[in-house]
């Protein structure tokens, strides 16, 4: 107990951290974490089951954005979508892999900043289009990618999408996160215009673009040195 707050619920966090560090199956780790947390907080079996069920049903949109695009992308892949993306990018000799990734990072951050965060994503854009484009650009540059280098390039494709999305969306004043910040700060006694919160997201958003773009350039340079 600290200041009258029970620390027992932190047991669940310990379960999660140890489970992830030992690389146990994440589904089991998360289940164990939820059960331990619930029991430590003295939730009875009925309330715990209800909390788990409600939480799962409330977050179905997370799987919606995964499953439905995959059903479209899968058929297109059978008919050569990824191959076509590689052929298309080969028509632009100036499209190096770092330029492809940085252009995508900028596109993702800018569109998220004007509220269009759902027009791209890992299932609908990164797997079917961005990854083949980046791989195609590397091939056009004459870089032979072995399995390890290919994996790192693909991981960078996923990273460009995440970084662009995270640090773009808080600039959009009508985004849920800005509303959340506004409400919470207001509940603490300070009524700040959402516009000003969005405005003060700009310095970090610019830093994020600069840092990540620089990392992409360095990554591409390293690949060129070792794999060309």
């Amino acid at each position: 107990m600290i200041h009258g707050v029970s620390l027992l619920p932190l047991l669940g966090i310990a379960v999660i951290v140890v489970g992830f560090l030992l690389r146990l199956n994440p589904m089991l780790v998360v289940l164990a974490g939820a059960l331990v947390t619930g029991l430590a907080a003295h939730l009875d079996a009925n309330a715990l089951l209800a909390t788990i069920g409600t939480g799962f049903v409330q977050t179905r949109n997370l799987s919606l954005v995964l499953v439905l695009p995959l059903a479209v992308v899968a058929l297109l892949e059978r008919h050569g979508l990824r191959e076509r993306a590689q052929m298309w990018i080969a028509g632009f000799p100036g499209a190096t892999m770092d330029r492809v990734l940085i252009a995508y990072l900028g596109f993702r951050e800018l569109t998220a900043a004007i509220g269009l965060s759902s027009i791209a994503g890992q299932a609908q854009m990164v797997r079917p289009l961005l990854a083949p484009l980046a791989e195609g650009a590397a091939a056009t540059e004459g870089i032979a990618l072995d399995d390890a280098a290919l994996a790192r390039l693909r991981a960078h494709c996923a990273a460009a999408d995440n970084v662009g999305l995270f640090f773009g969306e808080d600039i959009f004043v009508a985004f849920g996160a800005v509303a959340l910040m506004h409400e919470i700060v207001k509940s603490l006694g300070y009524d700040v215009a959402p516009m000003r919160i969005a405005l003060w997201a700009l310095p970090t958003a610019l830093c994020a673009f600069a840092i990540h773009a620089l990392r992409i350039v360095l990554f591409a340079r390293r690949l060129r040195r070792t794999r060309a």
């Binding site: 994440p26 089951l49 977050t59 995964l66 995959l70 790192r152 990273a159």
Partner: protein, 302 residues
Amino acid sequence: MIEALYALVGLVLAIVAAHTFADTAHPRRWTSGAFWLLFALTFLLGGRVPPQAIGVAVIAMALLAGFGGVRGGAHASGDAEARRASAVRLGNRIFLPALAISVVTLVYALLVPGGAFVGLGIGCIVAWLAALLVTRDTPLQSMREARRLIDALGWAAVLPQMLAMLGLVFTAAGVGKAVAAVATAYVDVNSLVVGVLVFALGMALFTIVMGNAFAAFPIMVGGIGVPVLVGVHHADPAVVAAIGMFSGYCGTLVTPMAANFNLVPVALLELEDRYAVIKAQAMTALPLLVCNIILLLVLVHR
């Protein structure tokens, strides 16, 4: 409308389950099929049955996946030569259905504020029809291909929802209050530098644990951001809020708890290392967190 789209997801998953049950060459067809069927049922029945029933289904799915019961079938991955020939024959037309998802989502989002998920769902339906038209393939084949990709994801497809569920259990159990109590009990947060460090690092660490900066925000802002940085040091609350949230996002970049961003792409891109995406992001997250701390220190005395 969103309920109809959830039902559609449930239908796709039920077809995946049926194909899995019917796949006699599959090494674990009964347990894998049961896993996809349960997942389908959470979409078809969620909100209609008591939440406890969904809770039981979730636990059953976790046990099926956790003890190796969920495997992919053997898929004829198609012949690379045929795909190449088809890519040449179809030309850039093949991009149209893929881009239709984004375009329809965009148009819908502009017409109906707050309708992003519905827009995406409608976009996928339009794109699916366009894909059938462009490729002249059958709906049955499209479902076989969908099963190939969903099989490739395996239980990782369910992990984002599992973790989001865990976040809600954490909240219900008061984990946030306990973390804030620990974070503020032993340090002198009344010093500006210490206050900023505890606030920014606390946002990042708390987000790493919870997998979601939104869960960390009320606790860190209520515990330190407003009372100390704004109350004692007269910082601009807009600055504290915006940069505090971004400090949390630096945590999101490096936590496996944010499975939809960091673990699902590993499966989607068929990478060996479960933490490959996190490794690609870590060296962006760390300097960016330092930037946030510096920005906070500078802007407090604006």
